[in-house]
Assembly symmetry: D2
Homo-oligomer: 144 residues x 4
């Protein structure tokens, strides 16, 4: 989805399984559940680069979502295992954008793709530039 | 549900409508949604007595749920309007217990009943006694 | 957000209040909650035109979300009342697109705006053309 | 929690990780999230005995939750890994009751314990007796 304004920097995959309570009366995973799956993917992407929310929050930095975009390609159903493939699409002065592909773990078929832009803000909600150190982390590959 | 260990102190009603995303693939409101409805009822009960979360949080007081109990009597469906009837069942030194009846707004038929115990804790999570002033508020009737 | 490809057809407003469980540890309404608020707005928009999910489902028609896009402008907090202003942006052969503005009920300040495209599918998930009757309903104003 | 009215039949463990969106403004996993974790535990318990929702639903059998009870012992926080230990506490003619202990994966400290009773109903929501075959499955150990 959308043009990738720079080479995607690494890619990490997180697995989720559709919970019963995440389905709706159409019998499919409710569309809002995908925002949650993408969040799982993003947190895992950061963890594999050594970043935990706690460590950035301790320095007074937070990353609220300021843009969300999802295209739903095929329904996911209760108990389906899904792979959330996450990459960084863009790093700007005070924000970053992640891209996601959600595919069936069993069939590798695309279920949804999307992106989120996250702003970098301090404890008072004021925009803050990403430091050189933070950018270095974001450009880092997985280190497990 | 359960014995009421003292006279219930007042009763307030909040109305909710079952959201599409709150249903599950059985076509009924998912059981976890009722915890959310009861929370709406409790917040409304407090608001009608002049208590907002912000005012207590500003004094460093929080009320996390430490016990939750729900009996489901009949399913609720998408778009059903429900009335959440809330009362206080018990006030102890450092906790309080709310009771709930969730009924259909159209048919007054019981859908679920339950209770929650909330502990009174400070910013560090340490148990705190309810002050005389707080107890006075809890025993107050609605004032609108 | 986005160009409106035809005159927006009517506009209806639904009010929601941010629930405690919809906040996250940043102290603001979690970004996925807005998908739920927009759903409330869309359901209300349809209800005011005489359309209930049950009536369309009885004819074997469903409207799954196939695209979701949200721009977050300012955070909403616990207990904030929000007005979800909903309109139709586009009616195609087998899909429709709703637009949303979420504003504070007290200050009218913009919190988020977004859109969703919904496909029209039958019970087996196959795309179906919107009938002339359905389009007539969608172009109808509120009738309360 | 509560007396176990018969020997617990087997025990299975499922791991979950607290999602960002599952926290609330107190900075802890919201109490309703635990109902979701217990559901994950129950689904996993059944899967390890060869039972999938799809297989029972295909025979017109569903297991809605009719009672839910949770005691919260210590808060869980964003990104904590939790082990949901699930067992069956009771099998009756037309219902079954699962018990849960939720412990930290890192420290094994108890975070919450609870139980759910599930009714066995058919497609029309009418109570149905558990068949001998179903009871045999429930008394089966894990087979992986």
């Amino acid at each position: 989805m959308a043009e990738e304004t720079r080479e995607s920097i690494g890619r990490s995959t997180a697995r989720v399984r559709v919970r019963f309570g995440e389905t709706d009366l159409m019998g499919i995973a409710h569309h809002a559940s995908y925002a949650s799956y993408m969040e799982v993917g993003r947190v895992e992407w950061l963890r594999r680069r050594g970043v935990t929310y706690a460590s950035w929050a301790a320095r007074g930095l937070h990353l609220p979502v300021v843009e969300l975009s999802i295209l739903y390609r095929a329904p996911a159903r209760f108990d389906d295992e899904l792979d959330v493939e996450t990459c960084i699409l863009e790093v700007r002065a005070a924000s970053l954008r992640f891209g996601y592909r959600i595919v069936g773990a069993a069939d590798a078929a695309l279920r949804a793709e999307g992106s989120t832009r996250l702003a970098c803000v301090d404890d008072r909600g004021v925009l803050r530039r990403l430091s050189a150190e933070m950018i270095e982390v974001l450009e880092r590959g997985e280190h497990l």
